[in-house]
Symmetry: C2
Subunit: 377 residues, 2 copies
Amino acid sequence: MKLRVIKSALVDAVSHVSKAVSQKTTIPILTGIKAMADEQGLILTASNSDITIQVRVPKRKDDIDQVFVERMGNVVLPGKIFGDIVRKLPGDEVEWVVNERYQTTIRSEQAEFQLNGLDPDEYPRLPRLSTEQMFSISADTLKSLIRQTGFAVATTEARGVLTGVHLQLEAGTLTCVATDSHRLSRQQAAVEGSAELTLNNVIIPGKSLSELAKTLADETGYVDIIVAENQILVKNDGLEFYSRLLEGTYPDINRVIPKEGQTEMVTSTRELLQSVDRASLISRDGRDNVIKWTIRDEKVEVNSASQDIGSVTEEVIAKVNGPEMSISFNARYMMEALRSIESEEIRIQFTGTMTPFVIQPLDREDSLHLIVPIRTR
Amino acid sequence: MKLRVIKSALVDAVSHVSKAVSQKTTIPILTGIKAMADEQGLILTASNSDITIQVRVPKRKDDIDQVFVERMGNVVLPGKIFGDIVRKLPGDEVEWVVNERYQTTIRSEQAEFQLNGLDPDEYPRLPRLSTEQMFSISADTLKSLIRQTGFAVATTEARGVLTGVHLQLEAGTLTCVATDSHRLSRQQAAVEGSAELTLNNVIIPGKSLSELAKTLADETGYVDIIVAENQILVKNDGLEFYSRLLEGTYPDINRVIPKEGQTEMVTSTRELLQSVDRASLISRDGRDNVIKWTIRDEKVEVNSASQDIGSVTEEVIAKVNGPEMSISFNARYMMEALRSIESEEIRIQFTGTMTPFVIQPLDREDSLHLIVPIRTR
């Protein structure tokens, strides 16, 4: 393998795949980044037990020659140090030569590194996924779906399917749901040209999705999503992102979402968030981070008290419909839901002091957050 | 105690003293911030076992009324949460009322906090230092002295006086020295109007100085430095920063600094730093982070090798005087010294492969760094 590559393109590609490099693993080769040079340019791959990221540096991009392959070939290099070296190289162009024993020379201006490469045949192969179950979606929509549900997954491994986000595609609508059984977030989006395809019980680990959102941070075009039996692949021209799927059956969440509220309030998302944020300064001292709302007379009164520290009280103006209502809940769940909502105003529907309540942006139907109250004395 | 205060001024003052709030301590009251309201305004104090910071919020500043004291008094409030509350309060003005049982109400617009305050008489009193040993120095000069020596202190408590920076004032020159016995940094500055005062063996903990530099970050005027038997106080109109001093006798460092070199080189600070930074990507894998320089023929060759990873070599152009020289050293010590130097060019003087070598900015005499080489096979 022998090639020259524009440094900035190599730095970009390495920083993308670095997210998937295994830190600690019993399989040493997975701490490496696999490089392949072929007729189309350079391909980098990194993998851990959850995700695999593959990035292509094409020969030409935006009318600029980026990669000059003199001799095709493959090598696996230690991932962490290879990334650091590439970032710190002087000059604009990197020369990269690998001999038959995978001894690798990386040269740029006056600096020359020799790295002990590993045999690329030892590197696990990527799965070939059947493209039967495939649809396309804009990267922005996908990132928005992740941002508005991902925070609600359960974080302890033992919770099984609840550590993932559930994907369902039906009649052209993609529904993402996450819940840790104390709160739930659901976000929907229309998917053009997918009316023929039905997907259900596709459960993607929450961690994989948060890495995917970072990987797609600068992407604005469409990506293809391919769903196989135990893998999902998100790809566009330059990028392939694989994640394993979680096994098991996701619970039916429709029965836990109340159909209509008894008391309803409409208020400013930002003001409500700030009041909960302040109240949680007191409540976070306690075990469940409990704050209390009393909704009545065109306002919601926010309260929190801790025996050791003190208490807080404030009022937020709201449009209220229905009887007075007092409800206690975990302030963190509320803040995470409110932070994910972009609309200026929200509607909250309560069915009772001890039953789940529903938070929705006022101006759209595709987004829903549910929080289970906490019983207090 | 009862007062109103402009929120931004309070936020500033709290963020300054917060650096000194004890995190974990057997003296619970030290996790608090002491507030005192008097005729001049509001004073906040926080303290841990190393440092004490006191900040004054004067009644008027820059022709703007900041504090309106209605009833003088004192209270101690839990430091961490008080800081968080102040930062997150709505509105521009904070109302602050403390009753005789130190129950504290903090109110701003619609938000009202009740905090359980503590008896301020339980809070340790600040020492009254004799102003006999006092001099003034510009905050910028002081920060520069700290930045160019503080990194070289020993970091393990067991090293005693070497965990501090040694201050000496003699004939109007202030000399700061830090060493961990593997490297040494010395920085000098002229102190106007201090010719009468001689100070020696004043050893300030390195950690205290790094907090002092942060505390003075936005200060540009002069500060007074008062040295007492076991305390040092750095102060200006609004700020008092106390640190304990280290007990013991600082070693005489003059005998370890070689007087003249055998081989001397002059080169670009930045290029040399970048080459060492890259070489350390390989060497940091090893125990002592060893890289090797070979100085000859108008250049320095930088080398590093690790059996597992590989090797690196590069050349930096330099003006060289004297015989060829090979020397090995800890790359981190070199990077920290070079990063602290602001001059574009440096002079390095070598006396032998196994004797300390001296790094100095080319254009000034007041700064010196010394590194002890490492014996290699």
